[in-house]
């Protein structure tokens, strides 16, 4: 439970990353998203935040027999214990392809890569998927009249526990009664708390 919470927070922190972090990353074409009559903005989607220890999944799963039974996992315990994503209706292999673990599987049986996981989420969250395509759902960086950097669903929502975790707000503004002339040396000038947050992310 605690670890999954931690994982969520880590992922949450990731979303605040600034675009240059993905500057040179491979861009996955999204032509299949386009439909006649609709114009999508020009955008790139960075690869998902997968841990090198766990991905590719085939590192371990290549030699393992898929077990479709619903159970308490002995490995990936942080996922199975914290799992909170329509847990009564869903199990690992509804999304993860049993035969080739490096792929995800749509309800239609079509296999997709982890880089284009939005199709998988979009199966259920259709309206959000649509908003996402047009740049309305989710964080965007880049250029309003040029190339935009999108985020995958999983950049912000930990897929096994997609609900956002609360965060600490930054301090409130000073009350007008407290705004007074003060003698301050250069070092005493208050620093912007956002600097620390930006530093922590990088």
């Amino acid at each position: 439970m605690k670890r999954s919470l931690f994982a969520t927070l880590v992922i949450f922190a990731l979303i605040s990353l600034i675009p240059p972090a993905w500057g040179g990353q491979k861009e996955v074409p999204r032509d299949s998203l386009k439909k006649p009559g609709h114009t999508l903005p020009e955008f790139v989607v960075p690869p998902p935040p997968l841990s090198k220890d766990l991905y590719p999944c085939s590192q371990c799963h290549a030699d393992m027999e898929p077990n479709p039974t619903r159970r308490e996992l002995t490995f990936h315990t942080e996922i199975s214990k914290g799992f909170n994503h329509a847990k009564d209706q869903r199990w690992c292999l509804d999304c993860h392809n049993p035969d080739d673990r490096d792929k995800l599987r749509l309800a239609s049986g079509k296999l997709i890569s982890f880089e284009e996981s939005e199709y998988l989420c979009g199966q259920c969250h259709g309206t959000i998927f649509r908003d996402w395509k047009y740049g309305i759902h989710g964080k965007r960086t880049g250029y309003w009249n040029g190339k935009k950097v999108y985020r995958l669903c999983v950049h912000c929502h930990y897929p096994h526990w997609p609900k956002f975790q609360p965060i600490k707000p930054l301090p409130p503004p000073k009350k007008p009664y407290d705004i007074k002339y003060r003698r301050l040396s250069e070092d005493e000038i208050p620093r912007n708390p956002i600097e620390k947050i930006l530093k922590d992310i990088q």
């Binding site: 007008p176 009664y177 705004i179 007074k180 002339y181």
Partner: protein, 411 residues
């Protein structure tokens, strides 16, 4: 020799102003002290910025603008003397009209000073002028205010100075020059106060100001406080300079104040009813003024005092018995001045900002710097008016005469 006459005359006036008895020096000394205090406070404000005041983003105007608004009213009230004096030729008032006009000019000068100390960048004030600056006319009501205030100042300096100049040369002034100016000055006086009211009135973001009754209320209350101030000044002048000011003039003006206060109270009642009966969200500022809002009630005692003062003064001015008795008359004058000063000063400016546009309540209480500067400007105004009177009255009484080539009279 005649080319030196203006200089000689100037020195005569200067001598008249500089010379005086110990009471005169004491009075000027006292005023100078307060002016100095104001100047010191103003230099502090210049150095550190308006952070030295209690104004903040939530309440961005305060004591300075409150005083400005009150003084525009005082200035506008000169018209109350001009109309009976020149249009109806009511002799007793005609004799004192010059005092009123000079008071108006002094009040405008004080208005300009209050605006100047309120500016964040006073050295850039020329940006507001046409041609050299970039006056936003006709869109900005402040641009209108610059025009009407300066125009009114010019009129109210020209008429008395022209009349005095002629008097000093022992000549009767030319009514053909004065008359058109007087005719203009009547709507102009109304306009300075209307424009100042519109300055607030035109802001839909501030529901308390955005009421059509605001301009009429401004005029009505101005016609109370200004003449009341004059009545007091007349009596002082009469006493000090042994000047013959007819009681009839004083009682007539007092009667006119009663009518103006009646209208003022009625308009206030109309506003009060509308807000409280409709009980919409725009009631908040009015509630703040008279009953307090969410535990904030800084202005409540002041507002009730103001209302009480105004009603009492109304009664005192209205009844011939109290109106024509100097104790009650002077009491009424003081009450009116105080009542209107509260109502149209802080009682007008602050509820425009409380609650703020985003619902915040910041209770503004002026700092010492603001108070010193305000006192300083009032002292400066009093000094200007004192100096005016000092050379005006001897001329008026025929004691001071100018040297001129045509006139043989030498003072």
């Amino acid at each position: 020799m005649s080319i030196f006459n203006p200089f000689i005359n100037f020195f005569r006036v200067l001598r008249q102003v500089v010379k005086g008895n110990k009471w005169y020096y004491a009075w000027v000394g006292l005023l100078s002290f307060f002016i100095l205090l104001g100047l010191v406070a103003y230099f502090k404000q210049l150095q550190y910025g308006l952070i030295e005041t209690a104004m903040r983003d939530q309440v961005s105007w305060g004591l300075y603008i409150a005083n400005f608004t009150f003084l525009v009213g005082v200035a506008a009230a000169a018209v109350y003397l001009v109309v009976p004096a020149y249009i109806y030729n009511f002799k007793p008032i005609k004799e004192v009209v010059l005092f009123g006009e000079l008071l108006a000019a002094t009040a405008i000068v004080m208005c300009i000073m209050f605006i100047m100390v309120d500016l964040g960048r006073p050295e850039r004030v020329w940006h507001i002028l046409p041609v050299v600056g970039k006056m936003h006319f006709p869109a900005s009501l402040l641009a209108w205010d610059v025009i009407v205030l300066n125009g009114y100042l010019a009129i109210n300096l020209f008429i008395p100075f022209y009349a005095l100049y002629k008097l000093a040369h022992g000549r009767e002034y030319n009514m053909q020059i004065i008359k058109p100016l007087i005719i203009i000055s009547i709507p102009w006086a109304i306009s300075i106060h209307t424009v100042t009211a519109f300055l607030y009135n035109g802001l839909p973001s501030r529901p308390f100001w955005n009421a059509a009754v605001l301009a009429p209320r401004f005029i009505a209350s101005a016609l109370c406080s200004g003449p009341a101030l004059m009545l007091i000044i007349f009596q002082i002048v009469r006493k000090i300079y042994k000047l013959d000011i007819d009681n009839k003039a004083i009682f007539k003006i007092a009667e006119l104040i009663a009518y103006a206060m009646g209208v003022n109270l009625f308009l206030f009642a109309a506003e009060f009813f509308k807000e409280f009966y409709s009980n919409s969200i725009h009631l908040a500022p009015m509630k703040y003024l008279f009953f307090g809002l969410n535990g904030h009630y800084n202005l409540v005692p002041w507002m009730w005092a103001s209302l009480l003062f105004n009603i009492t003064a109304f009664v005192l001015f209205l009844l011939p018995k109290t109106r024509e008795h100097f104790f009650s008359l002077n009491l009424a004058c003081v009450l009116v001045i105080a009542g209107v000063y509260i109502e149209k000063g802080m009682g007008l400016v602050i509820p425009g900002f409380v609650p703020g546009t985003l619902g915040e309540i910041y209770e503004y209480t002026p700092t010492m710097v603001e108070k010193y500067i305000t006192i300083g400007i009032w002292a400066a105004g009093a000094l200007i008016y004192t100096v005016f009177l000092k050379f005006m009255i001897p001329i008026y009484k025929g004691e001071l005469r100018f040297k001129s080539s045509q006139s043989k009279q030498v003072g």
